[in-house]
Structures are given as structure tokens and as C-alpha cells.
Amino acid sequence: MNLNDTPEEAKFRAAARAWLTANARPKDKSKDRTKRVQKPESERLDSARQWQAKKAEAGYAAITWAPEYGGMGGSSIQSVIYAQEEAKFDVQGGFFDIGLGMCIPTMLAWATAEQKERYAKPALYGQEVWCQLFSEPSAGSDVAGLRTKATRDGDEWIINGQKVWTSGAQYCDYGIIVTRSDPNVAKHKGLTFFFLDMKSAGIEVRPIKQMSGESGFNEVFFTDVRVPDSQRLGAVGEGWKVALTTLMNERLAIGQGSGVDYSELLDLARSIELEDGPAIKNANVRSRLADWYVQTQGLKYTKFRTLTALSKGQTPGPESSIGKIVSGPKMQDLASFAMDLQGQGGIMDGDESVMNSAFQSQWMWAAGYRIAGGTDEILRNIVSEQVLGLPQDIRVDKGVSFNELVSNQGK
């Protein structure tokens, strides 16, 4: 039992570090991690594109992909090692995760040879950005209940409907979309999958204003949008099968949340004076602090177990599925508790607040984090069904055509 790299891993890490040192600046460690200075999006996208191109040229942009699509043909553990090293450097990322983590892998599995050739490399080099169009206002956890319609018209399809929670739609070049092509068959059977040009006529992107006041996602409206049949992925009516390829990759792409944690809470508790003395001496504060520390360490060491499996070339065990179930509520509860400790002062969300409103901001976004990419409840269903082998809930929508579902009557 040890935490060391194997000799091959150590060699790969050294090479990655050397390349990063030659091409990027190390992070300034003195920077307070609660400070949030955001440059405008267009500036960040430009620097992300430049960094992505450099990385792709060196082979580090898609370590596990085959060399013919610009990858390195490497292993999952190499991918993790590179990410660990890159995290120590001050580089702009974040715009290509969905495209390279979900969209292009779906293309590589289902598109024609010419299409793979045409689209993989420009995405890898950051020249073209991709988004994923699955969720709809009436299809969230139950995404196969989606209603966006695709109607065939000769060699083309006409798409009408609305997607929601689409990250990056405002700057994306292409998207992958799942649509309903036949409402007269059962829910999962009548879906068809496409990729499309986000600049097509009839597409309108509107930002969603979140309850926090920020806008990180969009609604996307489709009005008679024409897509050539050659951009269909998989057979007509088999869109769900294609969507599963994407969703399988989603679990790998969505990482653990970051933000303020027990160490910031410990700092806060040291600085706050309660009626009976410093907050850090309060038994309840210590008890809560210990619980969150134990959870944070538990997730960290669970990750070590996953990395161990990858390092041995094995498939990671099901324990990796606990990450977001633990981290979502932890972040929300910890931020909420930190605000409570400040008493009335905890309501302040501006320049007068503690640690640049880090706790207030986390308290806001954690409410959404617990829903994005699988709600706490859906994740518990997945653990109980796929890990523990418990039966699915009784499904009233099985074998019923989409049109006849109660939820779709009269709409």
C-alpha cells in the first residue's frame, strides 16, 4: 500500500511537468482561493483556445484518444496524471470539457469516417466549441420524456422545440441533440439523434438568469431548423442508444465540486467571537467541522482507490459513484453553517462580507450543484439499482406510446 507512481507513471509525470514548465506559468500560491476575479468571457475563451491549441500540438489535449484523431493513445491514469500536473499551472480551461468529454466521444462512436476526420481535430485544437442539447423544460431527470420534434422532409429533418440548461450555447459552433421523431411509439423508442451547426437559421439562444443572478446556462429555441439526414447519428428511432454513449461519458466528465471547505470554516471559526468565547472552542462548531473534514478526506481517499484501479489497468469500482452525493449537500450545509455562525452579519453579500462572500456565493450555487448532472435523488437510485442490485421502481410509462402518457395528455 503506497501512494507512489509506478516507474512508468513517474516518467510520464516528469515529461508532462517539464512540458508544462516550458509552456505555462505556475499558479501563484499566495493567491487567496476565496477571491474570484473573472475576466470577460470573450477574453477567457481566447486564452483557452490558445492554450488548447498548444496542448493539442503536444498531444496532451486528448491523451486517451487514438492518434488518428489527434490523441496520444495513452491510458486513463496518464490522463489523470496530466490533469494533476496542469492544475498546478495558471492556464485557462473550462470551455472544451463538454465537447471533448461528451460530444466528440459520441461522434467517434457513431459518425462516419469523413465526419470524424472533419470534426475531431478542430474541436481538439479549440477551433470549434461543442455543446450538448438534451434537457428540456419538461424532461430533466426523465430526459427520455423530451418533446423537441424532428420531422423528416426528404434528405432533411425539420426540428422544432426547446432545450434548456445548455452550457456555452452562446459561443458554441456545433451541438449534439436528441429529438422525438415518432410520438406514436414508446418513450425510449421514438428518439433520433443528430449533430448540428449552432449557427443554423431558426436557432435562438437566450441566457437563463439563475436565482443567484448569474447566467451560466442557456435556453435554446428551435423553429423550423433544417438538419441534413447525413448528420443523423445512429438509426432513426435509436437516439436513446446514442444518448447513452454521451451520458456514460458525462459521469466521467463532471468532476467534484470545488469551493470553500473545512479549512476556510476553521479560519472563520477562529475569527468569530460567540457569547461563550471563540467559535472554534464551541463543541457544536467542532463537531460539525470534524464531520465535514471526515467527508472531504473520505472523498479524497475514495479517489485514490479509483486511481489505483486505473493505475492497474482495471475498471474502477462502484465506489466512485458516491462523489457528488456527498459533496453537493456538504458544500451547501457547510456554507449555510458558516453564514449562521456570523449571525446577522452572515446576510451580507458585498464588500463588507467575510472572505469576499465566498460562503454566501457557495450557499447560492450549491443549491444548483445538487441538481446538475443528476440530482441527489437520481444518484441514489443509480447507487441502489446499479451497485446494490435493488429493483427499479414500478414504471407506469413502460410499453405506453409517448402520446398516450398521462403527462402528455392535452398538451
Binding site: 500500500m1 481517499y301 485514490f304 458516491i322 456527498v326 441514489r380 435493488l390
Partner: protein, 366 residues
């Protein structure tokens, strides 16, 4: 990265699991619950004969000379089986204390007899209903004579040797000598016998230096907490599986109760707590085996996580069973009893949380 037990360690774990599966199913645990024997003699004898008890005792003192990692995997299986044996008293506590603080002579005298199972040894720290602390401890040693009352002491009625925590020192007392009276103490988990021991000018010798009793006791506790945590993880997994099996077999309103989200989510929560505990235990096992600087933090972290995992699985296992789970004939009670016993042996969770935060403050990890 190789954050896992070795193939040999996994094999040892399999052997322990097989032995306990064969010789110590829950009907055997029930025999101890319902009978008069303080522990299961046959199972204990088997564990000693097969070398599990002496696994981490050096060969020079009659053990197998394996490390603490081996002890961790055995502990997990003892916990899974809810084994009614004096393993933790003799091995995690007494043998470890003698290994850590004993003189060469003390080691030579006692370790071979403990490792072979010839005698049972135990740790006598508690003095009634308040957790032990230097401010409240009354037991004293002076001029080789020890006096005080200790309770509840695991395996105290049958032990031949006790490591006794006094006001200022740790001491070794041969319990077969004069000045000792013992009586059984009733506890929430009769599958692990406890006793009250009264020492009245009993012959004793120091274990480790005089005046270092409390700090040595705390260090011993941290190390033992990791082994207890592995027991708790084994128990939590067994309790979760018991609940899962019942959820698959029991029907209500025309369907398996395991198809209801109220039950599924409860079981998912057991799994989440179990995996957090297991991961924390792995790290603590590594810290124990390499005696790292963060051993105390790692031990408290594993201890807190494992206590919570077993508490939750044991109590919600009964809830999943419904009425039958509350009967004497059902096995769910074994986990409920053992989970609480393990949670309080070495002090309750709030104490460990307080200790953990004190360590975090000290290391200035923030």
C-alpha cells in the same frame, strides 16, 4: 499509486472470512448471547491456532511477524462476523501496548502467551460512567502496588493479564495474583463479556515510564482505533447486506419493498457512509503501518467515519426489517448492539471529533 491491500493480504482476509463463515455464523453468535459462556471458545481457539491472533506479534515472541496491515484485514472480518471473541482486548489493546511500551522481559514473558491464546489479556481504563481522564482517574500505583476500581472492562472476568491505566502511568497486573476481585457487569452487548475489577494493593509493575501513562494511553488508543474502525466497516457492510437481502425478499403492497425509493435511498445512504469509512480506513491503515506523522489525524478520521457508518447501517437495518427486526429471534439486534459497543469502546464519537479538531488546529492545516 497502489492504495490497496496486497494480494497476500487479500488472501489472508479470504482465509479469515472463510474460517469465520464456517465456524462463526450468526447462530454461533446467538449461542453466546443466550448462553452463559463469556465468549465462543471454539472460534477463539481456532483464531489463535490458525495464527490470526498472533499475526502482528513478532516471530521472536511467538507470532507470525506480519504487520498491522494484516491485522486490519483480519479485523474487518471479525467485525463482519460480529465475532464473540476477546480478540480486540488481547490483541489490539494489550498486545499492542506491550509491543509499544514493554521491556524486553515483559515482552518475552507475555507476548508468546497472548499470541498463542494461552491467556487472554485486556486493557483496564474506564472507571464507571464518566470517560477516563487524568483529572478524574482514581486508580493509583505506588511501590509496586495498585489500587482502584475499573469498569466496564472487556473480558475482565477471564483475563489473566490487564494493562491498567492509572493516574499517571500504565501498569501491568497479573490478575491471578492476590488483591483482585472481579464481578460480571451487564452490558448492551452480551456477546462481548465485561466485568468490574477491584484492585486492592494488587502487585503491579510499570509498563513504560512513570508519568507518561496518559500520553501513552492516547497513542495506544489512536492505533487501536484504526483496528476497531476496520471491525466497524466489516460490521457496517454486513448490516447493509442484511437490510438489502430483506428488501429484496419482503413484499408489501404487491411489490418488493426494495423497489420503493424510501428504502432504496436509505440503502444508498448506508453504501455512501460505508465507502467514506472504508476509504478513510485504508488511509489510516497506511498511516499505522508506516507510523506517519499524521497518524493521530488519520486514526480519528477513520474512527469517526466508521462509527457513523456502522451506527447508521445497524439502526436502519432494523427499520428496513419492520416489526420482525425488533424481535429477539431476528439477527438484526446483533449489529445494533455491537455497533453501539464499538462506538463507545475507546470513547464516543464527540470525543474523537474534538480530538480531531484539536489536531487540525495544531498542525495548522488551514
Amino acid at each position: 499509486m497502489d492504495f490497496d491491500f496486497s494480494e497476500d493480504q487479500k488472501l489472508l482476509k479470504e482465509q479469515a472470512r472463510k474460517f469465520l463463515g464456517d465456524k462463526c455464523d450468526l447462530s454461533q453468535v446467538r449461542k453466546v448471547l443466550e448462553g452463559d459462556a463469556p465468549h465462543h471458545g471454539e472460534v477463539w481457539q481456532g483464531l489463535c491456532e490458525l495464527g490470526f491472533a498472533g499475526a502482528a506479534v513478532p516471530e521472536a515472541y511467538g507470532g507470525l511477524g506480519l504487520g498491522t496491515l494484516e491485522l486490519c484485514v483480519v479485523a474487518e472480518e471479525l467485525g463482519r462476523a460480529i465475532a464473540p471473541v476477546p480478540f480486540s482486548s488481547s490483541i489490539y489493546l494489550a498486545a499492542e501496548a506491550i509491543k509499544l511500551y514493554g521491556s524486553e522481559e515483559q515482552k518475552k514473558l507475555w507476548l508468546p502467551r497472548i499470541a498463542s491464546g494461552e491467556i487472554i489479556a485486556t486493557l483496564a481504563a474506564a472507571e464507571g460512567t464518566s470517560p477516563p481522564h487524568p483529572r478524574s482517574l482514581k486508580t493509583q500505583i505506588s511501590g509496586g502496588k495498585l489500587s482502584g476500581v475499573k469498569l466496564p472492562i472487556a473480558d475482565g472476568a477471564e483475563a489473566t493479564l490487564a494493562v491498567v491505566l492509572t493516574q499517571d502511568s500504565l501498569a501491568l497486573v497479573d490478575l491471578t495474583t492476590g488483591g483482585i476481585t472481579r464481578k460480571a457487569v451487564k452490558t448492551i452487548d452480551p456477546t462481548r463479556a465485561h466485568a468490574e475489577i477491584t484492585f486492592d494493593n494488587a502487585s503491579a509493575e510499570l509498563l513504560g515510564a512513570q508519568g507518561e501513562g496518559w500520553q501513552n494511553y492516547c497513542a495506544l488508543e489512536s492505533r487501536a482505533a484504526i483496528l476497531f474502525a476496520f471491525e466497524q466497516v466489516g460490521g457496517a457492510e454486513a448490516a447493509m447486506n442484511m437490510a438489502k437481502d430483506y428488501a429484496l425478499e419482503r413484499y408489501a403492497f404487491g411489490r418488493q419493498i426494495g423497489s420503493y425509493q424510501a428504502i432504496k435511498h436509505k440503502l444508498a445512504d448506508m453504501y455512501v457512509r460505508l465507502e467514506l469509512a472504508r476509504s478513510n480506513c485504508y488511509y489510516a491503515a497506511m498511516a499505522l503501518s508506516e507510523d506517519t506523522a499524521d497518524l493521530e489525524i488519520a486514526a480519528a478520521t477513520a474512527r469517526i467515519a466508521a462509527t457513523e457508518a456502522y451506527r447508521f447501517a445497524a439502526q436502519e437495518n432494523i427499520q428496513t426489517h419492520g416489526g420482525i427486526g425488533f424481535t429477539w429471534e431476528a439477527d438484526a439486534q446483533f449489529h445494533y448492539r455491537r455497533a453501539k459497543l464499538l462506538a463507545l469502546t475507546l470513547g464516543g464519537p464527540e470525543r474523537w471529533k474534538d480530538r480531531l479538531v484539536s489536531q487540525l488546529e495544531k498542525t495548522n492545516i488551514a
